[in-house]
Amino acid sequence: MGSYLVRRLFWTVITIWAILTVTYFIAYLVPSDPARLIAGQHASAATLASIRRALGLNRPLWYRYLVFANQFIHGNLGYDFIMRRTVAGQVLQAAPLTFYLAVVAVCFELIIGIPIGIIAAVKRYSFVDNFLRFLSILGISMPTYWVGSMLLLLVAFKLGWLPLGGVSASGVILPALSVGITGSAFYARILRSSTLETMRMDYVRTARAKGAKESLVLFKHTIRNSLIPVITYLGLDLGALLGGLIVTETIFNWSGLGFLLNQAIGNDDGSLIMGVTLFSASAIVIMNLVVDIVYAFLDPRVSYS
């Protein structure tokens, strides 16, 4: 276990370094001049030159890359071009909001997805199963931006039950629900197939043979075991949500990381794009690591010798 951890940590660091390098050079490929971004279109040549000097933009690319990497190691992501605030500060301000939204969204996914998955498995091949499977295909097929827009229009605008976007305690419901509706379908499908698989296991047959009640068989013996792939997916899903709620956050004006990234891309704000990307990518990589470790504790059959 110890050497496994060391190996995994080593590759985590390598992955983050690779992300840093690729993002840095992709950001450079975009035809963009940070000095012009800062100074605005009306600036004179002398002003532009003084900004380039101040930011070190007159240095060669490899030198700037090394400076950036060195800053990153020290937890410093520099300043954004437009508002000249620290990137780390903005990321840390946005991250809790995204985390909050992601957790509520995952709860919605589970609340919707788990019952559907179980019912579909128990009533397999029946009309109910077919109907629920149809619903989950519909859920997977509907883009989040469409579901989000519809929820905004119907629930917030027409009915006026919830706020029209923005960050507030009740404002989290609609964005989380729109992620929940589309994301729950994955959970339902995973749980249905793993439940069906578990139901064929010997220990389930044994439980039935010894006369256990059907509900006990289902909840104690079957579902507990079929939840393992759900938990695996949950970890990856949470990691992905932390980095990938750009569309939802933008539609609902929820000022988390995705919202920040969307703004940064719109402004071609290289240092902010770098900062958010690195943070989100690190979140995904670290969540992967956590899932692998948790997995080992959950399932005694998994060993990492």
């Binding site: 001049d33 800062i38 900004i51 827009s149 917030a156 029209l164 703004q263």
Partner: protein, 557 residues
């Protein structure tokens, strides 16, 4: 989000909301009592970038800054005429010395009195920036004709001991500021009315340093109540201001709200206006609703949208090539399909609202693909690949760029599109590490309504590598604008004649491919009403100023 279904839903929902609002109207009317402050709530689709005059570059930031700060000179609330702001002025006969006398007993909103030294401090600061503005003072160059500018600008940061500012800025006695210029300038007073010339409180700047932005203090009719950067800014009436008008509403501005969401909030009656210019998909929704149409307002602005050519190398160093592009583009088609005929076709570098605009130039390059092909042949163009760099941050721009690409292809030009984040964010020509572009989508919005702001900045040799995006130049053009720029305001007729002639040259030599003039539009709720004698919608769509909240009142609704 721009799918047809969404549009239909919105239109249907708008009707329902209108009914609901009518039903709820009676109950809501009582909420705006005499003592509860009225609120103007609206949003921007981007950030408010700054409240610091040294960092100011954009219209969005100007909205709160115009209300928080004062300048020595300001525009009349109803016209483009300049009038005394914080100070009245006299000009010396040679047009080189301006003497400003400050209004008496003016105080910042924190109670500090405004002195001549504060004015001098503010102007010195914006000329070069200070340690807190990371070396950037985008509008510093606007004051480069003040005596002592070069010495001060190149003095280093922080400046050496003993250097306190430009020698051309003095205060001969308390309450008086004297500014000496190197040459006379007709537009100097316009530059003094820019947001960059706003008067700041030196004590507050020094006290808060890096955090000045969220503690900004001025003498304007509003004061900053709170600013959660990137999210929301709140302004409250500054009752001690000389510009304060009794009954001013509180102003709440949301940042970074998409226009679709903003429209819903507007329709719900939460937002007082929908801040323009409206994207074409929003305008389509306005056209589809008679209620919204009745709340829609539009003006053509002093701004231009054009294609600049890289004239530092072949093929666009050849005038025939530039003319060919002008003939090849169907401007009417772009006006109709992209701007929905909300603005004018551009016929020359200056927009119609600027003195110097030459009304005798009418559509100099009518759409004529045959002529374009002939010119290409004469120019010896044989299908070499050309790069067209354009802003891909807005869907309207992408569509326009694609139309242009198709039209140029139709006359035999091979053009590849390269998207960039926003207009003006291009590789500089002077030290371009990645190979050059050939055509660049460019725009300009007035700093002040004077021909010099357009022709000097966009087409003079002095602006090479910066605002003269393609380094276009012409000796006769250069001579004319240099002469006109240096004439004092008393010789305005001669200036206008010179600029008109210069316009003729820029058009003949096809300095740019001319597209259209900028416009501004807005949806304004019927319950937002002008205060006192304010006519029409000047309080909202002023040709130079941003919305003047001090002239707006919120009626019961």
């Amino acid at each position: 989000m721009a799918n047809p279904l969404w549009r239909r839903w919105t239109t249907a929902a708008a009707g329902v909301a209108a009914l609901a609002m009518t039903a709820a109207g009676c109950g809501a009317a009582t909420t705006t009592g005499a003592n509860t402050p009225q609120v103007l709530h609206f949003s921007f689709s981007s950030n408010i970038e700054t409240l610091d005059p040294t960092q100011w570059t954009d219209v969005t930031s100007m909205v709160p800054m115009q209300e928080i700060y004062d300048t020595l000179v300001e525009y009349n609330p109803y016209s483009t005429r300049l009038q005394p702001g914080l100070a009245s002025w006299t000009v010396s006969p040679d047009g080189k010395t301006y003497t400003f006398t400050l209004k008496k007993d003016i105080k910042f909103s924190n109670g500090d009195p405004v002195t001549a030294q504060d004015v001098i401090y503010s102007l010195n600061r914006v000329t070069r920036g200070d340690a807190n503005s990371s070396g950037a003072a985008p509008y510093g160059f606007a004051y480069s004709d003040i005596v002592g500018y070069n010495h001060w600008f190149n003095g280093g940061n922080p400046p050496p001991a003993g250097m306190t500012g430009m020698s051309g800025l003095t205060s001969p006695r308390p309450g008086v500021v004297r500014i000496k210029l190197k040459t006379p300038q007709a537009f100097f007073l316009n530059e003094m009315a820019l947001m960059s010339a706003a008067i700041v409180d030196p004590r507050v700047v020094k006290e808060y340093g890096q955090n000045y932005q969220t503690h900004a203090v001025g003498t304007g009719p509003y004061k900053l109540a709170s600013w959660n950067r990137g999210h929301q800014m709140v302004l409250l009436p500054n009752t001690t201001s000389w510009r304060y008008r009794k009954g001013e509403p509180k102003v709440v501005m949301d940042e970074n709200v998409s226009s679709s969401l903003a429209l819903l909030r507007y329709q719900q009656g939460d937002y007082a206006f929908l801040f323009g210019p409206l994207p074409s998909e929003i305008y389509a929704k306005v056209l589809a609703s008679s209620q919204l149409k009745s709340q829609y307002h539009n003006v053509v602005e002093n701004g231009v949208v054009y294609l600049a050519f890289n004239t530092t190398k072949a093929p666009f160093n050849n005038v025939l090539m530039r003319q060919a592009v002008n003939y090849a583009i169907n401007k009417q088609l772009i006006l109709k399909n992209i701007t929905n005929d909300r603005t004018n076709m551009m016929t020359q570098p200056l927009p119609p609202g600027i003195a110097g605009y030459n009304p005798s130039i009418k559509d100099p390059y009518p759409y004529n693909p045959t002529k374009a092909r002939q010119l290409l042949q004469q120019a010896g163009y044989h299908g070499q690949q050309l790069t067209f760099i354009y802003p891909s941050n807005e869907s309207d721009h992408v569509r326009t760029a694609e139309i242009i690409q198709t039209e140029l292809a139709a006359v035999g030009m091979k053009v590849s599109l390269v998207g960039t984040s926003q207009i003006g964010n291009y590789w500089p020509l002077e030290d371009n590490p990645k190979g050059s572009w050939n055509i660049a989508w460019t725009d300009w919005f007035q700093d002040y309504p004077d021909a010099q702001d357009f022709l000097f900045n966009l087409l003079s040799r002095q602006a090479f590598g910066a605002t003269n995006v393609g380094d276009w130049t012409d000796p006769q053009f250069q001579r004319l604008i240099t002469e006109a720029d240096a004439l004092p305001a008393s010789q305005q007729a001669q200036r206008v004649a010179d600029y008109r002639q210069a316009e003729q040259i820029a058009v003949q030599k096809a300095a740019w491919a001319f597209l259209y003039n900028y416009w501004n539009d807005a949806l304004v709720q019927p319950w937002v009403q002008p205060q006192g004698t304010h006519r029409d919608l000047m309080y909202y769509l002023h040709p130079v100023k941003t919305p003047q909240f001090e002239f707006m009142r919120v009626a019961a609704h």
